[in-house]
Symmetry: C2
């Protein structure tokens, strides 16, 4: 962990009631680590003056540096500003510039700027404000000889906007930070245990590398920390060699983005025919902005009738082999490729459960076919997990099948 | 908050590095609240003996009751068992029954049951074990005169399985709990501010109801806490009257489930034609197990060519009005209804951004059409937010359009 440490306090009754999920802690921790600040502890605190004061006070006593999220809104239960002023023994005053900014914003949104809304312009004396490019409440920095407390709003888009701009500059100017040498390697196709075996020889030669395994549904990320940039480049070279084409990205790229770029670079296009995944593969491809340049469309052929009429799957094939079969996956891939006139077609058919299993075809059985210019590949899987997990794994496997095919095409 | 309080400690270095998102805290908090246990604080703690010991010790001193998640695995960084034994001054011993269970499990999975794996059978003397129906590590309960500490594994599926069975029984047997009277009302179609105005008259007549607004993308949940079951039923009646058909569910039901049940009850079926949502609506419908009984399939018609060839949208309509137009949405809905022979057809066309806007058609412009037996409805939206938010709001709006139509059909 970097030398500079911080504690995070995430504020809100609804978090403690389990009514909303927090996304701020992990986002902030990730960004802070990347610039050289390690998170020692995260605490979820209630919207309660006394309790919050105790939590902030103790955290400041431990590390001297705390960032909080939430409780900056205009309603009476938002008490972070008051608690912070109390902890630093400062008066809350109405900041004129902030008041004007808020008045303008409310006018623009056509909302009444009433007494309650005005309370948002109150800040502790001597605080530094961090501009909020995405909303009303600015970030607030409070400092004394031994303590720094930074208040951020709890709305994720506002918190992120402040952090990426004003807060980041503030931190880089006011702390002596050294960013760690972290490498994120994203892999698909090998389980955690298999990966561990494969990379063991590298780790024995580079014993000061620290490796964390981050398994997701269908993929595993490796987060590798090196002691220098030079060692980081060495590690990248070694791991790339060992992982071969199981390594689909270095850094925060999604599999769908990687596949999209490869399709573009190679002048290829794709259309998809989905049964059990039911549109999830298409949706994943469309997640990527600009995907219309290579993704031509898809058919969700949940019924046999749709498989026949929209994809041209022969009724004889359906009768002979059943809807969940390699033959039908192949016919779907070929059919959708033809219908959309794409260079590649993908067909997925399977049993996502909980119902639908037969004596010979268990829940989790999925066939995925890739039909391209002069080849058809078909893979059979029996995925573990529930309906959602089986569908997600199918989508990953389909994207990966396409990726490995494109990998072998010259770009 | 209920009288019985607990603190949650979520353990793992990767959480503090922002590398994984925690889902355990909110899940646990929600379940605990429902049986009458309020969460006072949540702390994310590192895999570090000293630090974790301090965090657990302080939490136990504050509330006397702590539940932890994580750090029960076999690797050396998993130290929760050792810390707990130390805090309660108990020896760790190898539990024979657990050892046999683990050996069996490893054998079944075809994995080697080595020295490291065996450490999972170590538990503090005098601990009660909570059976894990989904994995190797059982829950562990440690008690003395004033303190109760419960250790749960961090893998969500295992944590949940133990909590829903053995832990829940344990808590109900060992604590005097009274479940709170909570009503979850899920709404769609009115913003938070509008909802607040509409429900104000009810709240002024029932001043002891506590209302929390939980906004999601495109929907708003109201969590209402009443002081008795009788007041809860009254509240349900009043709110149902005021919210009318903006209220889509009472309790944890998804909009797609509600629509699915309505389709089934009314003997209707649906097929969908998607442009900007790109399969997301189909995928949401398929999320529901058994959806094949009413969801017939869909077409993702990202290109104009697909709109023409697969959905029969006339090229003249596309040329005259452009792909993002009410006319094309209507033609897509009618086309997909005909192709799949469903009673209802939905067409969505829009600009999800960031590119694709024109002088007259901004990012966020979405047309949604619903074609049924003797009617077509078309709605125009300009959704705020980014690509992902616009697509999600489009899916919600489409499901809601269908729901409101079905609402008026007699079942």
């Amino acid at each position: 962990m970097p030398e500079q440490k911080v504690e995070l306090i995430i504020i809100g009754d609804e978090l403690l009631a389990g009514a909303v999920k927090d996304a701020n802690a992990s986002w902030l921790a990730d960004l802070l680590l990347s610039i050289g600040i390690g998170v020692l502890r995260v605490t979820f605190a209630p919207d309660d003056f006394k309790e919050l004061k105790e939590i902030l006070d103790q955290a400041l006593a431990r590390t001297g540096f705390v960032i909080s999220c939430g409780g900056l809104g205009p309603t009476p239960d938002d008490c972070t500003r008051r608690v912070a002023a109390d902890l630093f023994d400062r008066e809350l005053y109405t900041n004129k510039r902030l008041l004007n900014l808020l008045a303008e914003r409310y006018k623009k949104l056509g909302r009444r700027f009433d007494r309650i809304a005005r309370t948002q312009a109150k800040v502790p004396r001597g605080a530094e404000l961090l501009v909020n490019p995405a909303g009303a409440a600015p970030g607030v920095v409070l400092k004394d000889e031994s303590r720094t407390l930074i208040l951020l709003p709890g709305v994720p888009v506002e918190m992120q906007a402040i952090t990426e701009t004003a807060l980041r500059s503030y931190l880089e100017e006011n702390f002596a930070l050294s960013a760690p040498h972290i490498l994120l390697l994203r892999t698909v196709g090998t389980l955690e245990t298999g990966l561990a075996q494969r990379i063991r020889p590298v780790l024995s030669r580079f014993p000061d590398l620290k490796v964390a395994y981050l398994p997701h549904t269908g993929t595993v990320d490796l987060r590798i920390q090196a002691s220098s940039e030079r060692k980081k480049s060495q590690a990248l070279k070694e791991f790339s060699r060992i992982l071969e084409d199981d390594l689909y990205a270095v850094g925060r790229k999604e599999l769908s983005e990687v596949v999209g770029e490869m399709l573009l670079n190679r002048g290829q296009s794709v259309a998809v025919a989905e049964s059990c995944t039911g549109g999830m593969l298409a949706s994943r491809l469309v997640d990527v902005a600009g995907s219309s340049r290579y993704f031509l469309g898809g058919v969700v052929s949940y019924s046999n009738r749709a498989k026949q009429e929209l994809l041209g799957v022969a009724s004889g094939v359906l009768e002979l082999h059943g809807a969940v079969s390699s033959q039908v996956a192949k016919a779907m891939a070929e059919g959708v490729r033809e219908r959309f006139n794409s260079t590649c077609g993908i067909g997925i058919t399977g049993i996502a459960g909980p119902g639908g299993a037969t004596r010979t075809k268990p829940v989790g059985l999925v066939y995925i076919a890739l039909a391209c210019k002069d080849s058809v590949r078909i893979k059979r899987f029996v995925f573990p997990g529930d309906r959602s997990s089986i569908r997600q794994r199918s989508v990953i496997a389909a994207l990966d099948l396409l990726r490995r095919y494109l990998f072998r095409l010259s770009s």
